[in-house]
Amino acid sequence: MATTDEAAGGLQIHPMDQFIVKPLFGDGPIEWYTPTNVTLWMAIAVLAMVALLVLSTRRRAIVPSRGQSVAELFYGFIHKMVEDVAGHEGLKFFPYVMTLFMFVFLSNILGLIPMSFTTTSHIAVTATLALLVFFTVTIVGFVRKGPGFLAMFWVSSAPLALRPILAMIEVISYFVRPLSHSIRLGGNLMAGHAVIKVFAGFAGAMGVASVVPIAAIVAIYGLELLVASVQAYVFTILTCVYLRDAVGEAHH
């Protein structure tokens, strides 16, 4: 790699270096118990969530403080989303959905701080969250509906001849769900952060003309702020859509 860097006139771009998982202390091998930068930033996300939702609402008032009104804003937003999408029955899962949203949202936003680490850009993190949703939906669906949960795959509004084919497609799309659910979040954030690093590499190599890539970085940073919140929203609303299959009436 060193020769190609020199050939390009000192242009050094390593957009993927920011995603390397490092141990916090020393540089030994990473075991499952090693505190790494992922551990650190996940802990910061959880602490930020506690600070926002618990500490700011500890002294509740009729006229809310700034922290309390932000917390109420998030609570009302997610509560309405769960009720609208997953139905009234889905409200039993509101604490889970709220936790999921706050964790993903705060991880995305904290990852935008320069020199920080974006935990949700790793497929390992998002796949864990998506598999939890997948198993929750499957188990809750079978517990609440019994074998009737399988009727989800048998589209009764379609012509009889088409139903076996549709059932196959529905089964495949059901099992692809955790994959697309996790890769959407992880891929979006990873791609966005890599783009910022690529433009930063341009800025380092262009001398005075680096004003242009720096302006582009500012614009992309704004876009990334939008992507961070929209992807957290999309992850949560898809969770609600999947929960509707498990708790709601058949919607085919």
Binding site: M81, D84, V85, S180, I183, R184, G187, N188, A191, V230, Y233, V234, I237, L238, V241
Partner: protein, 78 residues
């Protein structure tokens, strides 16, 4: 020599995989454009359909992200 050709194929494949982004762009633009067309005809119904808009965009976009994933797999995993 053989290793070089495999390396070359890897890069060509990764480059070709980025064409999937075009499909995702068409899909997302189609959804957003149709939403806007409908929203301008009946603005009062638009806020209630925002959730459907985002879900539709998310589904269309996921397929583009898959092509990005294939490019990454070719570059770093194959």
């Amino acid at each position: 020599m053989e290793g070089d050709i495999a390396e070359m194929g890897k890069f060509i494949g990764a480059g070709l995989a980025t064409m999937g982004l075009g499909g995702a762009g068409i899909g997302v633009g189609h959804i957003a454009g149709n939403f806007l067309a409908g929203a301008l005809r009946n603005p009062s119904a638009a806020p209630g359909q925002m959730a459907n808009l985002f879900v539709g965009i998310a589904f269309a976009e996921a397929l583009g992200i898959f092509s990005f994933l294939i490019a990454l797999l070719l570059m770093f995993a194959v």
